[in-house]
């Protein structure tokens, strides 16, 4: 069922982007994170905002992010996520494997240029 929802992304892509966002933007709550992803991708990615939450729960469980309750700018009680050391390590390894994969795909797609 999960695969259907994130059909535009490969497995782990959402997590990788969330981790990266947290690394660059510092601690964020769910809504801010969603908006940030939307803005920076310039709406190119079709992500339902709700799909963030299963990903957050998985990463919380894996210990890549930590969460605590705080206040949003509109003064609403929200859960704020921040990157942990384990998350940082995970991000690095995912980025490197992602880059290898992209390179591989690129070579296949444009064989003449290589």
């Amino acid at each position: 069922m999960e695969n259907k929802i994130n059909r535009d992304l490969f497995p782990g892509a959402l997590e990788m982007m969330i981790l990266q966002t947290l690394r660059l933007g510092g601690p964020l709550h769910g809504y801010a994170l969603a908006q940030h992803l939307k803005r920076t991708s310039e709406d190119l990615l079709q992500i339902e905002e709700g799909s963030l939450y299963p990903a957050m729960q998985r990463m919380l469980k894996a210990g890549w992010v930590a969460a605590e309750w705080g206040m949003s700018t509109r003064n609403r009680r929200v859960r704020i996520y921040k990157l942990t050391a384990a998350g940082r390590k995970q991000l690095a390894s995912e980025v490197s494997s992602f880059e290898r994969m992209m390179e591989g795909i690129a070579r296949v797609m444009r064989p003449a240029e290589s």
Partner: protein, 880 residues
């Protein structure tokens, strides 16, 4: 708890997300309604995301079980008749199992509440083959010898028998407590600590004549002295002797006998005549040992055996009679594991209880069969629902687990009711056991072990009756049941097999019950030689210092006073007991009879008051009974029984011959009468050679034969005893038949319970059969309708139903018969000992049980068959 918190937090978080988005959209100028819709669209399916999020917590399994549980509860509540029937039959089965297990556990297996009970063994002085080998088998000198030489093996400790003892605080009273005498190291060897004061120490046994100190059990101290700490140093009267209370034992410790709850302990040396402490021929002690860590029982046993052999050669054999010597030399010392204490009663009933546990396990199996059948039927009715859910994509595993949850719930409810039933049932069981002057006091508090047993039984039963139908429901052909119209003919094979199995098991139970009932009947109809009906018996006790003459006069006065009542035929007394274990025996010389070497010239003896034979209804063969005149001992006379006369005199007359009793002060006695053989030592015992001498002894029992009802006669006895002498105290008034029945208590227990369970099994199996036949008919309603519309008669339909059912009954009965014959052969050794006058494969019992079961089964099949024949063809066809 954690789960609900996580769930709420996630919901809050998602709610906040949506609210933030709505705010932002409204700030951008969108209307509230529109903004909410837009926010939701962008968010996606919130419920689905929440559920996926929850999956990562690993709680889904628990959540699913909770859901299944609630669903099962709902469906069970929706069909109360089914639920009540299932729960009740399970409660009966589980309750019966729990009750018998509880009694076995309490009487045999409950470990002593002491540190490391597995190091405790009983020293059993066993003459292989004899009956009462573990009763008071050690003298004090032998105990001391074993104890001293065992110092590197372990600690040997001793106790006398527990008994009901007179007790008082300031003055003598008729209050009774459970008391026993123990060696000074009893508590320290067991590792029982004092709760208050101290327990016994070595010096308590070393004082000449004994140190008169006492230790109380915590329960007694709480009950009798309201837990007052002032009890220490207080003087109590125990067995009419003053003792100083020095301590209270640790909570929970009530002695080493499972069937007794001891109130007061006193040191061995203070409890008996000084003579007993040095006399090697008075055996009154039971010995236990706590082995040192690492000590092998076999090694310890060899050591004890060596000491015992030396003691025999040294002290016992030189003075022993030629008759007694081989008995002594055949005795051995064995170590019996006693982590649960001495368990005399438990061991006595172990075999019948284990056999009964097997029987009630069968009853439970039959009950499982019924519930499984009920569930099969229900699932068949729900087949459309199940198939539909399968077709809609529900996993088979989910459906099986859901159906099984229902079964588990039924089993748990059954177990809960069963535990309540068992609490009552265990007490009922104990009421079958003979009560002595000290009532049986097993520790029946439900413990982890008993509850664990019940829980395991419940889970196993649920698997037995639930898993099969649940799996079957899912395997059923999906097409067939979705296509509507229940045009299914015939009953399910599973249900039919179950019923055949139930019939087979019922036959086993019926045969078991038949065997035990015949045993009991044979025992009860065996001629005892005397007639215990219409006789009340009671014992008397007097304060210790009462002169013997006064007691003797009281006996005579009571006899006269009782006989003055209209309705009282005759009252008399005798010593020792006239029925039961033990007795009075001794050597004899018969004038004109030369004893051959090795000939057993010991006879049983009873000192009988005037009217004794008339009171117990012991028939006279020749000569005369003992009369009042004979009591004076001038001239000395005796009455003997038939066996005696036949052994010593053959066909020549016994009356007028002379005998000399070794235990007698009289020179010679003349035989004045011959009476019938009475089985004084139990129905299963042979009739011994008996000599009845006129006389009276302290502690003699009374026998009152009367045409009055027992209650009225008891009142008369109480009034007359008190009028005869105020200080006389009546110990127990009971019908003589109670004593007789107590001797067959094991058989009574087995017969009563096996017939109750046998009947229960047959009823359960009949209900099962009836249900299966009725269900089969209900599924064939339209077929029968068509048949009848086409001209079939009622009889034809009945025959049709029966023709399908009879093979089932025959198969069940045949399987049961094969099982019973096999069991009778396999268990022959175990069962034969429990039977009397009937063989394990008794043809009459087998035939009777089979006929009974077949008749009940036919009846159970006939009832629904008759209903089937009354089907109205029109209604049946309109079903279509």
């Amino acid at each position: 708890m954690r789960f609900t918190r996580l769930r709420r937090e996630l919901a809050d978080e998602m709610e906040a997300h949506l609210a933030e988005r709505v705010d932002e959209l409204m700030e951008a100028g969108m209307g509230a309604q529109e903004a909410r819709q837009q926010a939701r669209r962008e968010f996606g399916n919130a419920t689905l995301y929440a559920e996926i999020s929850r999956q990562s917590w690993g709680w889904t399994r628990v959540e699913r079980i909770g859901k299944d549980f609630r669903h099962a509860l709902r469906t069970l509540r929706a069909s109360p008749l089914f639920t009540v029937t299932a729960v009740l039959s399970l409660a009966l089965g589980i309750g019966a199992n729990t009750a018998i297990f509880t009694l076995l556990y309490a009487s045999l297996w409950r470990p002593l509440p002491v540190q490391d009970p597995h190091a405790i063994f009983q020293l059993v002085r066993a003459a292989p083959g004899s009956q009462s080998w573990d009763e008071y088998s050690y003298s004090y000198p032998l105990f001391q010898q074993l104890s001293e030489s065992a110092s590197n093996v372990g600690e040997v400790f001793a106790k006398g028998g527990f008994d009901s003892q007179k007790f008082g605080v300031d003055s003598a009273s008729n209050e009774r407590v459970a008391g026993e005498a123990v060696s000074a190291n009893f508590f320290s060897a067991l590792r029982v600590e004092p709760l208050l004061g101290r327990v016994f120490e070595a010096r308590d046994d070393s004082v000449l004549g004994g140190n008169h100190v006492a230790v109380l059990s915590r329960d007694f101290w709480m009950r009798r002295f309201q837990s007052s700490p002032a009890i220490l140093g207080k003087t109590i009267l125990y067995n009419e002797t003053p003792y100083t209370v020095v301590g209270v034992a640790q909570p929970g410790f009530t002695g080493v006998d499972a069937e007794a709850s001891i109130d007061v302990w006193v040191p061995l040396t203070s409890s008996v005549d000084k003579g007993w402490l040095t006399e090697p021929n008075v055996n009154w002690l039971r010995l236990l040992v706590r082995l040192r860590p690492g000590m092998v029982p076999a090694q310890a046993q060899a050591m004890f055996e060596g000491v015992f052999r030396a003691h025999l050669a040294d002290k016992l054999l030189p003075g022993a009679s030629p008759h007694w010597k081989p008995v002594l030399t055949s005795q051995r010392i064995a170590l019996r594991p006693s982590s649960s204490g001495i368990a005399t009663t438990g061991r006595k009933y172990e075999k019948p209880l284990l056999v009964l546990l097997g029987l009630v396990a069968l009853v439970l199996l039959i009950a499982c069969g019924n519930v499984a059948n009920l569930i099969l039927e229900r699932n068949a009715a729900r087949q459309r629902e199940i198939t539909l859910r399968l077709a809609l994509g529900a996993g088979r595993g989910r459906i099986v687990s859901q159906l099984f949850t229902e079964s588990l719930l039924l089993a748990v409810a059954g177990a809960a009711c069963g535990v309540l039933l068992a609490a009552w049932g265990t007490r009922l069981l104990i009421s079958f056991l003979p009560q002595a002057s000290l009532p049986l006091a097993f520790d029946l508090r439900p413990g982890l072990v008993a509850l664990g047993f019940t829980a395991c039984t419940a889970v196993v039963t649920a698997m037995l009756f639930g898993l099969g139908p649940a799996l079957r429901a899912c395997i059923a052909n999906a097409d067939l049941s979705l296509r509507g119209g229940q045009r299914v003919t015939g009953t399910s094979l599973g249900g039919r097999l179950l019923v055949a199995g139930q019939l087979a098991l019922s036959l086993l139970l019926l045969i078991g019950a038949g065997l035990f009932l015949s045993t009991l009947r044979n025992l009860k109809t065996t001629d005892l030689g005397f007639r215990p009906e219409d006789v009340l018996t009671f014992d008397l006790s007097f304060p210790k210092a009462t002169p013997e003459n006064r007691v003797r006069q009281t006996y005579v006065r009571i006899k006269e006073r009782l006989e003055s009542h209209a309705g009282v035929v005759v009252a008399s007394y005798a010593w020792p007991s006239i029925y039961g274990h033990g007795g009075w025996s001794g050597g004899i010389k018969v004038e004109g009879h030369t004893a051959e070497p090795g000939e057993d010239n010991d006879v049983g003896m009873i000192a009988a008051g005037p009217g004794f034979f008339e009171s117990i209804g012991l028939g006279l063969l020749r000569g005369r009974y003992l009369n009042l005149q004979d009591q004076s001992g001038k001239p000395p006379v005796a009455v003997v029984n038939e066996s005696f006369a036949r052994h010593y005199f053959g066909s020549s007359p016994a009356v007028g011959r002379r005998i000399k009793l070794a235990a007698d002060g009289q020179p010679q006695r003349e035989i004045v009468g011959v009476v019938r053989d009475a089985r004084h030592y139990g129905v299963r015992e042979k009739a011994w050679r008996m000599v009845y001498v006129p006389g009276w002894k302290v502690d003699g029992g009374f026998f009152v034969r009367a045409h009055l009802n027992a209650r009225l006669l008891s009142d008369i006895i109480r009034a007359e005893v008190s009028a005869a002498d105020k200080i006389a105290h009546i110990e127990r008034i009971r019908p003589l038949e109670v004593d007789v029945n107590d001797m067959v208590s094991q058989e009574r227990l087995a017969a009563a319970l096996s017939s109750v369970f046998g009947a229960l099994a047959v009823v359960l199996a009949a209900i099962g059969l009836c249900g299966v036949v009725a269900y089969g008919i209900s599924r064939r309603t339209n077929e029968f309708g068509i048949r009848m519309a086409l001209g079939a008669q009622r009889g034809d339909v009945q025959r049709l139903v029966l023709r399908q059912t009879i093979p089932l009954i025959v198969a069940g009965v045949a399987a049961g018969m094969v099982g019973a014959v096999t069991l009778a052969h396999v268990l022959d050794a175990v069962i034969s000992g429990m039977l009397y006058g009937v063989k394990p494969a008794d043809i009459a019992v087998f035939a009777g049980s089979t006929l009974l079961l077949a008749a009940v089964a036919l009846l159970a099949a006939l009832l629904p068959a008759r209903r089937a024949s009354r089907i109205d063809p029109m209604i049946a066809l309109r079903y279509e």
